[in-house]
Subunit: 185 residues, 2 copies
């Protein structure tokens, strides 16, 4: 199977990007190709389109499945497996964030918690533990926030976006109200 030259550029570019996002180059390429293909592709089509070995495709597919990014299907009277990308672009982004959270952020939070629980055992550790606490708090905040955003549809998100600088204005109003309530002098 050959790919058109524009689609090639796309696929190769996302191969490079993939390698900065937790996949290797060929897995990135495989996924990119599935994303822009209207119909599901077979393993052999992937292998020939990307000039990689059949074995490599098999490993890549396994990896993409572990990220929950692709779907299997079959056509009647054909024993081959057909692969396609799951969901909208927004879903894909969410899935990748979610998966990376599980693989990277969660273990980090749990390490930080356990180190902080022990407490500083000498002077050099006091400063260090403060920083660890900051990192912990920031990561926790980001994860919660991300969970919040993921619940929004892209349309809602885009509305929120268009609020634009309004978000910070809204916040400052809220803060003023809040401080007045608490400290009405």
């Amino acid at each position: 199977m050959e790919i058109s030259s524009k689609n090639q550029s796309f696929v190769y570019h996302f191969g490079e990007m993939g390698s900065k996002w937790g996949f290797n180059r060929t897995v990135g390429q495989m996924y990119a190709l599935l994303v822009i293909s209207e119909k599901p592709l077979t393993a052999n089509q992937l292998a020939s389109a990307l000039s990689i070995s059949r074995g490599n495709v098999s490993m890549g597919v396994k990896e993409l499945q572990s990220w929950q990014l692709i779907q299997l299907s079959h056509v009647p009277g054909d024993r081959k497996e057909y692969y396609s990308a799951i969901g909208s672009v927004w879903d894909m982004a969410n899935t990748v964030f979610e998966e990376r959270r599980k693989r990277e952020v969660d273990p980090t939070l749990s390490l930080l918690r356990s180190l902080l629980l022990e407490g500083p055992s000498d002077d050099t550790e006091v400063y260090a533990q403060n920083k660890m606490q900051d990192i912990h708090d920031l990561l926790e905040m980001i994860t919660q926030w991300a969970a919040e955003l993921q619940r929004l549809s892209p349309e809602q998100l885009s509305t929120l976006m268009k609020l634009g600088a309004g978000v910070s204005k809204m916040l400052s109003v809220k803060e003023q109200l809040f401080s007045k309530k608490k400290d009405p002098k």
Copy 2:
């Protein structure tokens, strides 16, 4: 220079994480160590603390400088250079996001724009270009949104966070108002 065992765990863990975030292991370790060190460290201290070569430290420092993550300083009567991490934890996170945006998202957007500008040259490209457009739009939205958030202080962000599920409620109210205005039947 030796590191305490808890600080070791931290440094090694962030070495591993670093390698998933665009640095290599030792660069991640160097940065982690600088972050939890109260006082600036010399290149030799970094090398001995992490058991890596002096040359490696030199390259790592260069890399961290290109990410704008560390700062140089000097002590009077000493010709060595002293390195320390720049800014708060929130600043660090912003810097890393910002730098990755420049290195990854921007080139991707520009590739997508140029492919989309050419337009589809055959049937298989029509579907592909739709997907590319979706990815383009999503990336653009995320970048703008991120820029918006970066302008907020961590305190403001945390206020926004505490709004929690409120954000989506607020949005649905806004949407209802908006749709009534536009289509009052």
